[in-house]
Symmetry: C3
Amino acid sequence: MRKMTSIIQSSCSNFFFEYETPRQVLVRNRRVAVVCRIIQLGVLSYIIGWVFMYEKGYQAVDTAISSVFTKMKGVSYTNISEVERIWDVADYVFPEQGDSSFVVMTNYISTVGQKQDTCPELPDGKNKNKCTSDADCDEGKYKRHMTGKCVTNTSTCEIFSWCPVEDDRQIPDPPILQTAENYTLFIKNSITFRQFKVVRSNLVESVDQNYINSCLYHPTTDPLCPIFRLGDIVERSGLNFSDIARVGGAIGVLVDWDCNLDLSIRHCKPNYEFHGLYGTGKNDKVEKPSLGYNFRFAKYYVENNVEKRTLMKVFGVRIDIIVHGRAGKFDIIPTLMAIGSGVGIFGVATVVCDLLLLYLLPKRDFYKSMKFKHTEVQDEKPALPPSQKEKELPKE
Amino acid sequence: MRKMTSIIQSSCSNFFFEYETPRQVLVRNRRVAVVCRIIQLGVLSYIIGWVFMYEKGYQAVDTAISSVFTKMKGVSYTNISEVERIWDVADYVFPEQGDSSFVVMTNYISTVGQKQDTCPELPDGKNKNKCTSDADCDEGKYKRHMTGKCVTNTSTCEIFSWCPVEDDRQIPDPPILQTAENYTLFIKNSITFRQFKVVRSNLVESVDQNYINSCLYHPTTDPLCPIFRLGDIVERSGLNFSDIARVGGAIGVLVDWDCNLDLSIRHCKPNYEFHGLYGTGKNDKVEKPSLGYNFRFAKYYVENNVEKRTLMKVFGVRIDIIVHGRAGKFDIIPTLMAIGSGVGIFGVATVVCDLLLLYLLPKRDFYKSMKFKHTEVQDEKPALPPSQKEKELPKE
Amino acid sequence: MRKMTSIIQSSCSNFFFEYETPRQVLVRNRRVAVVCRIIQLGVLSYIIGWVFMYEKGYQAVDTAISSVFTKMKGVSYTNISEVERIWDVADYVFPEQGDSSFVVMTNYISTVGQKQDTCPELPDGKNKNKCTSDADCDEGKYKRHMTGKCVTNTSTCEIFSWCPVEDDRQIPDPPILQTAENYTLFIKNSITFRQFKVVRSNLVESVDQNYINSCLYHPTTDPLCPIFRLGDIVERSGLNFSDIARVGGAIGVLVDWDCNLDLSIRHCKPNYEFHGLYGTGKNDKVEKPSLGYNFRFAKYYVENNVEKRTLMKVFGVRIDIIVHGRAGKFDIIPTLMAIGSGVGIFGVATVVCDLLLLYLLPKRDFYKSMKFKHTEVQDEKPALPPSQKEKELPKE
């Protein structure tokens, strides 16, 4: 009876004075033991080595909020049919205000003095838009706005449009602004890891004003210099400058921050990478339709009270500055999450060992008898008589 | 004594030759057993079915870095008070260089020939800015720069400004460039999953140059065609083209990539969605202030040595191309994390079953006696005499 | 034999009718018990308090897709050498269409009437580009395109360029458009949490058209007003408006959404923050090279059949609207993940207690004997004779 009372006591008030721990069988079997210890050590070294050391599972992770400012420098000189011309940054960068995505003009087709007027379409060379009489030129039949007249000397329909129409059947080759490869690009990038209250600029400690005035980015000798030669950018992305300068193309400049904030902030430095975009790069296996990059823009002016424009079809290198920032710092939550999951996997190791012990070893029946105790009662059978129950309890 | 020695041995050198496994009671009770097996099967099927199959918990996940280039095509014809005019892409897209966010002009109020001068303010129609004498027009009183004169014939103050002032009291209706709905938009999108070193373009394998030349996006018949009719985009976002063309509006085109990289890369395809932005969409429950979208820009020119400008108040469809990329690929870490957590939840199942067994069943005392062994000693009591301790050990 | 049969039965068909639960020792030791209960309660309160309450570990998390539209308002008046001029939004915002990143011009150096011509370089004041004879001016020697002539009256080389060359040696001080601090910025921001199908605008329920017409953002009195005074933005980012207006600077306006979607959507509101970018802010510890922000753009025109341009070197406040959206909502997967990990950490608590019990307590040998049962057999030794085995089984 003393025992029964103590049981009742324990279940009620002794919660704080009693501690339960699982009873275990110590199996003296070298084969099982070695296998299990190896499994357990494997799990342990996985958790410590891989999750903690390599993947830094003890760190909370934040991605960066970033802001980019760019500035091109350089001048080009052209001499087209004895007309000399100088191109500076206000002439060849679109848009002008230093966005993270911009275009450097390397080639163009300009159509000077367009005004709203009627003029014949250009023959496309394949006689697709050829006309022989006015009947071929129904008003509104095509995408362009036709007047319904067929112009005899060009054998094409007359249209109402900005005239004269642009002739972009031939792209200038070599590109007009081939010297654009010597332009330089200056990138200012500021990132913020909000969770860790860290603000960081790509002009890190070792990059001061003197260094910026003289340096040029090189992956091994000057990996932190924020000034890039346009030709180098194109080449490092796996493209050929002459090709891209002629028909245009897009390049992604990736500013990659992978910071371990458990170390000094000075080690948090950007890494620059260059990729060809839109299926022109070497990593891409698509069939590469739509090579090139071009757009049209117009400079408007008024001449003798008539609005005119100079239409430019611009081919160029489009640069997209893409910032990818990731920082890790020790934090108790992911640490405990990782440990908790690790303990869970430890449980899997135990299950595997038990299966080995209970189903594969020759002496499995013996181990089973050691590990398991059976309650003899079943729902179908009458329960043990109280007397027997009383007797069994003291045994324990 | 032999036993004692073996214990000491085991605790020191036999770590590798001994394996411990918990002793367990096998409870022959259908009710408990069925409940517990069901709970365990539930947990197991949750882990396998939901975490592994549905949520792909065995995959590491990466979000995409992306780059977008856009190109509009199409021509509009207007005839305003007998002045014919053609609008092409250089006239109606802002900015011109093919950004991921741009505006297609659909309506405008133009004020031609503005120059720096003095002119009377426009009456606002509500007599709010009416003046009767110069005393009502204090210099610097209002936001505009007043000269201090009240102009008799308009009954408004004279201001120094770009004159004549813009009259935007009436928005042209129907919109001037209503035909903009037939313009087409071409989207080039390139995404990179850095973690998996995968580069992908929205011009996937089945989209070749021939297809692009002829196709038009349709959600069911041409879901991969990267060419979109402007009217379709507006309509699919739940808006009415005439409304949006008149006062302007913003639409988000979502390019959604959800890739399973355990399959062939060919199955990694974009999905296009269209949303009205800024509270004009049907999903938004806000009270919709500030409908419409407009901005002003100026074309500057010099006439007779006087700088003049044509001010345009542009209403248009603003398109924001938003890329959302997510890729999953098998990785050992998340797999083991999921398994580890799953084993942990298995532990919860066991706890629930034990509570059932030990507190709810009629024979709970019997099961308790099977499961628990008590150490009789307590700190308050004297420890068991050595003799008794010696006796108890062999029993085990 | 009855027992043996039941074992075979159980292992085959009775899987569903048998339930196993670990046998445990209840240790009556206050010291151990109290320590262990405290550890367990600590783990439990960590899981409930920290993971669930504070970190909301029961929520699935999504980041926002966002779209931003901005609109500046305000007029400036300048009077430079008796030339009056009014600057409105079409004059001072770049780009004009209301992007999330734009520049407000606050100062400029304009060079009117540039044309392609030859003219002498400007002396740099340090005699670095001084020439005494034509020999100092080799064609192509420098970055600019030289004609090879030394101009006597300026003692600098003649270049072919846009002439006259820009003189940016002196930045106007005070800034020409100092009154820009009174401009206002209106921000429209729309965010989408795709996973939860929630669309939200920064014009929340309490921000209606009347409120927008009259309000001005203030962190405490009007935290939701989407209209900001430019001077306030600059000041709140820790910079001085006069400085930034003179040489330019970049400011990030962070629209921060941290939404708990388990509550009403009305509580999902934006929070605005202001940061100086590019190393000019107070939080940044870098050495601040490259202060300031400027870019050049040109307005082209044709005069007497000669293409001319007005070059503007623009200094201004660059505003980057950065949206950071994060929403959490109850989800079964992260809940179970957290619980599973928690149970795993519980296991760690048990291990710690066991170490205490088995290695540190004075009566550790007694507890060991209670917890562990030894299998006497080893691979090297002969197995127990069947008779003994039979005897041991009934004991259990």
